[in-house]
């Protein structure tokens, strides 16, 4: 495992000068993921903030080969790239190891891209798919996705007088990917660099498809201070709103159990998208969110064979 200093000295796959917002989460996700891989990589990206802010012609922020095809097909595209690699290797035209990584936001992964992702991992292409999950369609103006958590206000699930934000739970995509029975699936955040780099290393070691869901806060969509992005990702794990875990060849393992699980309001309070939760004097909405988080955390612990206290 590289140390943080070693990581920082590696060639940067994504140069500065891209046009992502100050405090945006995805560049951290991209850098941590790609700098954890020792072999040369070829990257595919779905339509979204990442692609828009890093490839505005005639500029590109990518120092590694990068392809953008469309919104819903990053997984299909990288599976074609990987198939080309297998074919050209067999014909002796390429003789080196190359790793393949696809990045998509939650819209392009949980929703419109789920079919192509599911198909690609079922076919067994050797590639890592990374979802940088900021929990809404941020690039088009903060619309709800199936990754948007219960209670969050977005432009298509606005908190109003009658409907207090999104009324459904977020889709548990990581579990869905685990259900494909692929070699490696994990969930991490941009704040947990050691956890994430270790998971990427493991994901690219396994012979087959792998998937990592990385929480990457969006300071614009979440309505938070740019300086707080990393802190929010930490709080997501400390409150168990976004647990860190992995499923390695079918074995569920929680990779971080907070010593003192914080109340959900610690995580929600700095976020504009949950402001209405604290304006509700009955406290019912906050209680409902806490209940939902607790239920999902307990279900995860049970899946990993841990007790309710997070211990074996």
């Amino acid at each position: 495992m590289p140390t943080l200093k070693e990581l920082a000295r590696r060639p940067n796959p994504l140069t500065g000068g891209h046009s992502a917002c100050a405090g945006c989460g995805f560049p951290q996700a991209v850098r941590l993921v790609l700098m954890s891989i020792d072999e040369p990589v070829v990257v595919a990206g779905a339509t979204g903030c990442m692609e828009v802010t890093t490839t505005t012609y005639p500029n590109t922020a990518w120092t590694v080969p990068f392809i953008h095809n469309a919104f819903e097909n990053a997984a299909a595209t990288i599976s074609g790239v990987e198939a080309a690699y297998q074919a050209l290797r067999r014909k002796g035209k390429i003789d080196r190891e190359i790793r393949f990584v696809a990045f998509g936001g939650d819209g392009g992964t949980y929703d419109i891209g789920l079919q192509s992702l599911s198909g690609a991992v079922e076919r067994g292409h050797r590639f890592l798919y990374v979802c940088y999950d900021n929990q809404a369609y941020m690039n088009t103006g903060i619309q709800r996705s199936s990754a948007t958590p219960f209670g969050a206000s977005t432009t298509t699930s606005p908190a109003g007088d009658v409907v207090p934000g999104k009324q459904q739970r977020r889709k548990d995509l990581t579990a869905i990917m685990a259900a494909h029975g692929i070699p490696y699936v994990a969930q991490s955040t941009i704040a947990h660099w050691q956890d994430l780099t270790r998971k990427v290393k493991r994901a690219t070691e396994v012979d087959g498809p792998s998937f990592i869901n990385v929480l990457a806060p969006c300071r614009l969509g979440w309505g938070t201070d740019p300086s707080q992005t990393i802190r929010l990702a930490e709080l997501a794990a400390e409150t168990c709103a976004w647990p860190l875990f992995e499923v390695d060849h079918g074995q569920w393992k929680v990779t971080y159990v907070p010593k003192n699980k914080l109340a959900i309001e610690e995580y929600l309070k700095p976020q504009e998208r949950f402001r209405h939760v604290f304006e509700d004097e009955t406290g019912q909405l906050l209680a409902a969110i806490q209940k939902d988080v607790d239920e999902q955390w307990q279900a995860l612990l049970a899946r990993a064979g841990l007790g309710k206290d997070g211990k074996a």
């Binding site: 012609y57 392809i67 097909n73 299909a76 595209t77 599976s79 190359i98």
Partner: protein, 431 residues
């Protein structure tokens, strides 16, 4: 099965095969690096035969059995950008599902080759052959080559590789064949040797490709107002270049096989007064009608459009100049409110400004695989004779009327029972 004696053809053979078999055989001989495909009737026969070649080790192609046509073309875009010779095949609704990515493939100038088994589009659902699928993508920046029969489906596919990869073109190519009529109809096909095909298509050596990790490049950057327009302008230029390249490749293929190909194929057009313009399998039926009419002294002729994109406008001007009446047959409808199908509209546009132009009228026929009989085609020539006769007395009015006519050939009109009537050239708005 394609091929002979363990799938290796070392001698030219004349074989009985369907259009789908001939296409799979051409694919085997081309030996692409990657084929990604999804099954859809009537294309399925092509990819399942190719999958068998992969499973039997006859080809070393990477076969990607994707979960949808959208992903089929997406994967092929990835494979082609990665530096591989990549193909897919599709049909009807599957083709429609690819629509978004058709533009990505041409916009990225990827030399993808795609056989298309033409099929009608829903709704109502129909699995049989018409050109609604391909014609729906006529402005997507793909070269479109239509095949009259299984031999042409085979020949065109081999030529398509060279056309697509020509440095002055670098465009994706569709090679179409009418669903069921060609894909499932048995014909005699002359198959070239494997060595001849491989020599003809050569090896693919892209200038830049994704797997060249020493020279990283970004494919598919965001192009805004300052650059998108230029990309599309260059695409249009490539399509113009394709005209010459298609003609050259058709000539080279002729020298190899004895079967020469151009953008159009005139049939008994030298002194023709009445001409039909048609593409696909119906050209074969129409040739029989032309022969019969010629035996009866009628100066009938035919122009088959082989290449719809780039549109052979100059060829049509040259070939149709001097005719008195032209009927254009469309196996798809533009649903334009009476303007007829796309071939009619574009043929008319091509002839605009021609001095003393023929009277032109259009027919939509054969939708959803409806049989198109020699009698129906003959009725078109009868119409044309009548139009030419009337135009002698009242040219301006007849030309103007005919230009806006949207006829439906062989359709049952309300109130009719039984089979389509012989002179089924009903005109819209005349019910």
């Amino acid at each position: 099965m394609g091929g002979v004696n363990g799938h290796v053809v070392t001698q030219r053979r004349r074989m009985t095969m369907t259009g789908a078999e001939a296409t799979a055989e051409a694919m085997r001989q081309i030996h692409p690096d990657v084929v990604a495909a999804y099954p859809i009737t009537p294309q399925t026969d092509i990819v399942m035969r190719f999958a068998r070649y992969v499973s039997d080790g006859v080809v070393q192609t990477e076969f990607v059995p994707v979960e949808s046509e959208h992903s089929a073309l997406s994967a092929v875009v990835g494979a082609s950008a990665a530096g591989a010779r990549a193909m897919t095949a599709t049909s009807g609704p599957g083709f429609a599902l690819m629509h978004e990515i058709l533009y990505v493939a041409s916009g990225y100038r990827l030399p993808i080759v795609m056989p298309v088994a033409n099929r009608a589009l829903s709704g109502p659902i129909n699995i049989h052959g018409d050109h609604s699928d391909t014609m729906g993508s006529r402005d997507a920046g793909w070269i479109q080559i239509f095949s009259e029969n299984a031999q042409e489906a085979y020949d065109n596919l081999i030529q398509a590789v060279r056309i697509a990869e020509d440095p002055s073109v670098r465009l994706p190519v569709q090679v179409t064949q009418d669903g069921f009529i060609i894909t499932h109809g048995m014909e005699i096909v002359e198959v070239l040797t494997d060595a001849e095909v491989q020599q003809f298509v050569g090896t693919y050596e892209p200038e830049r490709y994704l797997l060249d990790v020493e020279r990283p490049m970004t494919v598919g950057a965001l192009a805004l107002q300052n650059s998108y327009f230029e990309v599309k302008r260059q695409l249009a230029e490539a399509m113009v270049n394709a005209r010459r390249v298609i003609a050259d490749v058709g000539e080279a293929f002729g020298r190899l096989s004895g079967r020469y190909y151009g953008l159009t194929e005139p049939y008994r057009m030298n002194d023709a007064e009445l001409a039909v313009v048609v593409l696909g399998s119906t050209a074969g039926t129409a040739k029989v009608v032309v022969d019969e009419l010629r035996n009866r002294g009628v100066k009938a002729g035919l122009v088959k459009i082989r290449v719809f994109r780039p549109f052979p406008a100059q060829n049509l001007r040259d070939l149709l100049r001097g005719t008195r009446a032209v009927g254009v047959l469309d196996r798809s409808d533009s649903v334009s409110g009476g303007l007829g199908g796309p071939v009619f509209a574009e043929t008319k546009a091509a002839l605009y400004g021609l001095p003393d132009p023929p009277v032109m009228t259009g027919y939509v026929y054969g939708l959803g695989g409806r049989d198109t009989t020699p009698e129906m085609i003959e009725s078109v020539y009868e119409d044309l004779a009548e139009l030419a006769r009337r135009a002698r007395d009242n040219y301006a009015e007849v030309v103007a009327d005919a230009a806006l006519a949207g006829h439906y050939l062989g359709v049952r009109e309300p109130g009719q029972n039984g089979s389509p009537h012989r002179h089924g050239a009903a005109k819209l708005g005349e019910r």
